[in-house]
């Protein structure tokens, strides 16, 4: 019995040993990260944090934008298969895929955030010049979907919008082009009555509400986000 426990402790020790030996930072490598942060009127935004990090949350480099909105810092580089991220106005995150709807991650809630990512195994770049990064103001949509009592309608819908923390591919061509976001596809049968949803996006953008009522052809409504807090009620 004691020998069995001894073996288990040994196994646990080996697991912990190899866990602690895991390395996700490249040896003999530094990169330079530069850029300028502006608002939707192209005015510089000072005091916005910019951080580079790995998938495992390790901060590789960081700086704050100056009064001209400019930043420049030296960063370590994550070793593939770990991803390399540059987060603008965002707290450190584990995987943006899981967290990009969570605006608790935004540091300065007056503005949206951007998460640049490099998921390739090619890490030959030595400079990441992000150019002019436009951060729109943060905006929220409170969406109320109301099934009028007594009706037996069904509703399928999805929401297309720019996330409050938008994802940008570092290997892409346009660093100001957020990847398309779409809210999870939902199907509401007649048992649903009231649905309340929050969509966290960017001021001046639109949320596309695309729906099929009772299996009829698809229709679309564009909801403009003109205020930091917006409300839209859809009744069927």
């Amino acid at each position: 019995m004691r020998r069995k426990h001894l073996f288990q402790y040994f196994l646990l020790g080996m697991v912990l040993l190899f866990q602690s030996c895991e390395v996700d930072i490249m040896n003999d490598k530094r990169v330079l990260v530069t850029g300028t942060i502006v608002n939707s009127d192209n005015n510089p935004i000072p005091n916005i944090s910019v951080r580079s990090q790995t998938t495992r949350n390790a901060i590789l480099g960081e700086a704050i934008s100056d009064e001209n909105g400019q930043f420049e810092f030296t960063s370590l580089m994550s070793k593939p298969p770990y991803n390399f991220y540059i987060a603008v106005n965002s707290k450190p995150f584990g995987e943006i895929w899981y967290y990009h709807y969570d605006t608790e991650l935004i540091e300065n809630i007056d503005y949206s955030a951007k998460a640049f990512y490099d998921e390739t195994s090619n890490r030959n770049a030595t400079t990441y010049n992000l150019g002019v990064i436009q951060l729109n103001k943060y905006a929220k949509l409170n969406l109320h979907i109301n099934n009028i009592p007594g009706d037996t309608n069904t509703l399928e819908f999805k929401l297309d919008y720019d996330s409050a923390i938008c994802r940008v591919d570092l290997n892409g061509n346009d660093f100001n082009q957020c990847e398309d976001e779409d809210f999870e596809f939902r199907f509401l049968d007649s048992e649903y009555s009231d649905i309340y949803m929050n969509v966290e996006s960017q001021l001046g953008s639109t949320v596309d509400f695309i729906y099929k009522l009772n299996g009829e052809p698809e229709q679309s409504i564009s909801i403009p986000l003109t205020n930091p807090e917006n409300t839209y009620v859809f009744e069927y």
Binding site: V23, D28, L32, E62
Partner: protein, 211 residues
Amino acid sequence: MFLNIRTFVLALFISSTALAQQTETTKIDSLGPGKNIGNISIGPYFPIAFGDNFANNGLDLKMGARFSFKINTIEDLYVGPYFSFFKSNVSNPELIGNYFRSNNYVFGGMVNYEKHIGDFDASIGLGIGYSTYRNHATGDNFSDTATAVWLNPEVSYRFSNYLGVYASTELRHDFMNVNVPNELKDTFNGANYLNISFGLRINLGTAHKYM
């Protein structure tokens, strides 16, 4: 701390070896003029960086230790292994990357020209070695590597046949292997040091007895 203990144990071992040799050679002292075998130097190491580079602009350097073992070859020429290390804290992460501590280790070899003048020894040496910076970041470690070359004038004073003290300066350049963009080349291409060390020197051989 662990390294300091290891250095201390190594010094004890070397001292005991030297003492053992002293006992053995007593018998042959009367047989001839004696022989210079070599010497061992061990002591604290104070790194001082200079110039426009990551070590001077981004690291807060702390004390380390230095060890060298010189063996007499022909006439006044000595060769032997060399080891040094020092610790540092990162003082400018925006410039050099977000890590918080760096320990430097150099393993190499030296060629020295050494002259004995009474109780004093003076030497000048050239060294080359492998330099590694073990860097500690959040939850992870990584390394920067370099080839180190140094020029090392040293004086020592013997207060007994086999024991003495030394003081040395070391002008060292690390040719870094770090891959960086052009904008960072001045910072990461190399590091310059003017290092100071003093400590114990163990002289091996019986030549001093007959001076």
